[in-house]
Amino acid sequence: MIDQVKQKINELLSAGSVKGVVALAHANSHVTPCLFQKDDDLSVLSLGDNKSDGDARYPLNKVLIKIARQYPDDAFGILVRGCDERGLYGLYRLKQLDPEKVVTIGISCPQSLAVQCECKKPWPDDMTAGEISDGVEQKQVQDAEGKDQSQRFTYWTDQFLKCVKCYGCRDICPMCFCHECSLECEDLVSKGDLPVDIPVFHLTRAMHMADRCIDCGLCDEACPSDIPLRVLYKKTAQIMNTEFGFTSGIDKNETSPLSLMGPSPEKPEK
C-alpha cells in the first residue's frame, strides 16, 4: 500500500501540480507530521502505524490549514483516511480550505482499526491505496444509553470531574479553527479553577461540534484523563442525523442545517 502512496506523492511533486504534500514521516524513531516537497526523501514516509494500525495518526488537516493560511495561493497534497476526507468536506463547507487547492491521497483503514473506531465509513471516496473494510455499527452510544438516568448522570459527572482543562480536545481537533473559542467565553465557562464547570465545559464543546465532528477520535486519544469524548460527540452526531438527516462529511457539497443560524463563516485570514 505504501508504495502506491509514495508513487502518487512522487507524481504530484514531480509534475509540480502541488507545492508540497502533508503526510507523516519516520524521524527520531517516532512518527512525525511533515510536509514533503520536491526532491525530499520519500523512503521515510509513514502511514501513521506504529505499534498497531493507525496508532500514530495526527491531525493533518489542521497542519494543512496552517500552511495554507501562510501560502494561500499554492496547492497542496494531503494523505487522508476516511475521517480526514470527511474533515476536508467540512472544512470546504466552512471555508477554511479551498477544494481547488487540495489534492487528496486516500488510504483505507484496516478492519481492526474500523472496529476500534466504530467507524461507519473507514475509507475515503478518493482512494489511492488499500481495500475497503466494512463499516461498523455504533454500539458505544447504545451501551451508554442503556443505563438509567441516575447511573448516566453519575457516570458522566465522574468522567468530567477528571478533566484537567488542557483544552487538548480542542487543540488536537482538525475541525476546530475559530479565532474566538466559546470554551474561553467567561459568560459560558468560568476560569481559574479545577474541576471545570460541570457539565457546561464539555457539553458546550459537544454542541459546538454537532455539525462538525467527523468522528476521527483524535480528541479521545489526546485526553489526559481518558474521558470518553468520542461517545459524547457520536451522540450529538446521531441527534443531527435523526433530527435533520445530516451527517458531517458524508457529502462533498454538504450544507449544514445549522448554517441557517448565525453569520456564515468568514474566509480565513492569512
Partner: protein, 539 residues
Amino acid sequence: MAGLAASFGSGAMTNSVSELEESDTIFIIGSNTATSHPLVATRIFRAKEKGAKVLVADPRKNQIAAFADLYVRHKPGTDVALLNGVMKVILDQGLENKTFIKEKTEDFEGFKSQIEKVDLDEVSKITGVSVEDIKTMAQTYAEAEKASIVYCMGITQHTNGVNNVKSLANLSMLTGQIGKPGTGVNPLRGQNNVQGACDMGGLPDVYTGYQKVTIEEANKKFAEAWGVPELPSKVGLTIPEMISNIEKDEVKALWVMGENPVVSDPDANHVVKALEKIDLLIVQDIFLTATAKLADVVLPGVTFAEKDGTFVNTERRVMRVRKAIEPIGDSHQDWQIIQDISNRFGYKMAYDSPEEIFTEIAALTPSYAGITYERLEGQGIQWPCPTQEHPGTPFLHKDGNFSRGKGLFHAIDIKPPAEVIDEDYPFWMTTGRVYAHYHTCTMTRKSRLLDSEISGGALEINPSDARILDLQDGHRIKIASRRGEIETQVMITERVEKGVVFMPFHFEETNVNKLTNPACDPIAKIPELKVCAVKLEKA
C-alpha cells in the same frame, strides 16, 4: 531526596510513571497530582479505572482527592504523626512483611520500639484524622499486591521534610512494597530538569552521578579529567547559606543561571536585600526576571526551543531536547556563554556542541556510562545505564536489593513545624501550584491562554472563617506573617479546612514568599514553604 538516599541508597523515583497503571493501591500524600503532574494523574485515573484503590492524604482537598477511595485531611505539618499511626496499625495487626524485613533491611528493631510507643488516639488528635481511617489506610496499603506511594513538595517542603520521606521509606519497607513493577516510593520532581541538575552535580556536595566531593578517589578522578592539579574537597554552600553568607560579607559574587530566587525562595524581602548588597550579581536568563533586575550583568541565554541537549524527567529518563528555531535576537547558547566566560577567566574549554559535553559526562558518570545521543533516539533511557548494551532501569531496588545494600529503617519521632499558630498569627498558611502556571510564571504568563486562565493568586479560605471575617468571594484581604505582608483577593472554598489558608506561590505581584518561613530541614536544607503562621485582615 536526602531521605530516600539514606533509606534506599538512591534519592530518585523508584518506578516508572507508566507502571502506576499496574499498581493496585496508590497512596498519594502531599501531591496535587492532577494540577502539578497531570500526565502522572493520567496513570492514576487509569489504575483506578482498573480497580486500584486510591488513598489520598493532604491538608487541602485537591482534585485528585475527589477520586480517592479514602481521603484524609491531616493538619499541615503532621505527616510523620499520620505515617507513624499507619505503621503502628500495621505492626499491631501483624500486617508487616516479616521475610522482607529480615532479609532485605536493617535497623528494624530501633524503628519498631519507636512505633510501639505510638498511641493511636494521640495520633488522631494531632492529625485530625480518625483512628478508623488510619486503620483503613494501613490495611489497604499493607494488604495490596502492588502498592505505590506518590509524593511531592507537600512532603519535602518542611523543616522535617527528610523525616517525612524516611517515614514513607519505612512504610514501604515494613510491608515489602518496593522493588517490583508498580511497587515503590515515588517522589514527583517539580521542575522539568531537577533530576538532571542533581545528576549533573548542581549540588554543593557531589559531582555528576552523586560522586562525593569529599571522597578522595572521586576528587582525584575529576581533577585529572578536568586538567587541574586539585579540586576543593570541602562541601560548598546551599543557596540559603549563600544568601546568609552574602550578609556576612563572605560571599561577594553570585552567578544565577535560569533561576528566579527573588520570587521562588522563602522570605523574599531578605533575598532582595542580600542581592542588592552583593558586589557582583551575574544573571543568565531569557527574561528580565525580578532577580535579573537586581543584576550587575545580565546574559541572555536561549529557551529549550532554541537548543540541543538533554533533560532528565521524574522517572530518571534521559531525554533529548532538540533545537527547533534559531536563537531569538542576539541571545547565545547557555553552554557557549559559560565556555566564553571560562576561557576569558583563564580556564580553557573548547567544546563544539552539547553532544561533545554529553560524551564527557557519560565518561565520568557510571550511571550514564552507556548513554549516547544516538541511543536516546526513540524512548530515551532511564539511568542507571552502566554499559552500551544495558537497556536502562525502569524500576530501582529490584526484589528488595537496595542500591545501598540493605534498606535502612529510621526511628522517626514527631516534631512540630518551626512556626506554629498563636494568638497573634492564628491561621496556618500553606502554598502550592495552580493548573495553568509553572513556577514563578516567567514563562507561562507570556502565553495568552495561560495568562487569561489565571492571572493572580487568590487566597483560599474556608467558608466559616470567611463568615467570621465578614468576607465574600473577591474581597481584598491583607495577609501578614512575622516576615512580611501582602494583599490579594479571597476565594471561599471547602477545599481548605477551618483555620487553614492556601495561596499559590507563582505570582510576583502577590508574592506569597514574602510571608513564608525560611527555616530549613537540617539535612536537605529545604525551606518550610508548606507551613507558616499568618494573620488576616479585611483590606
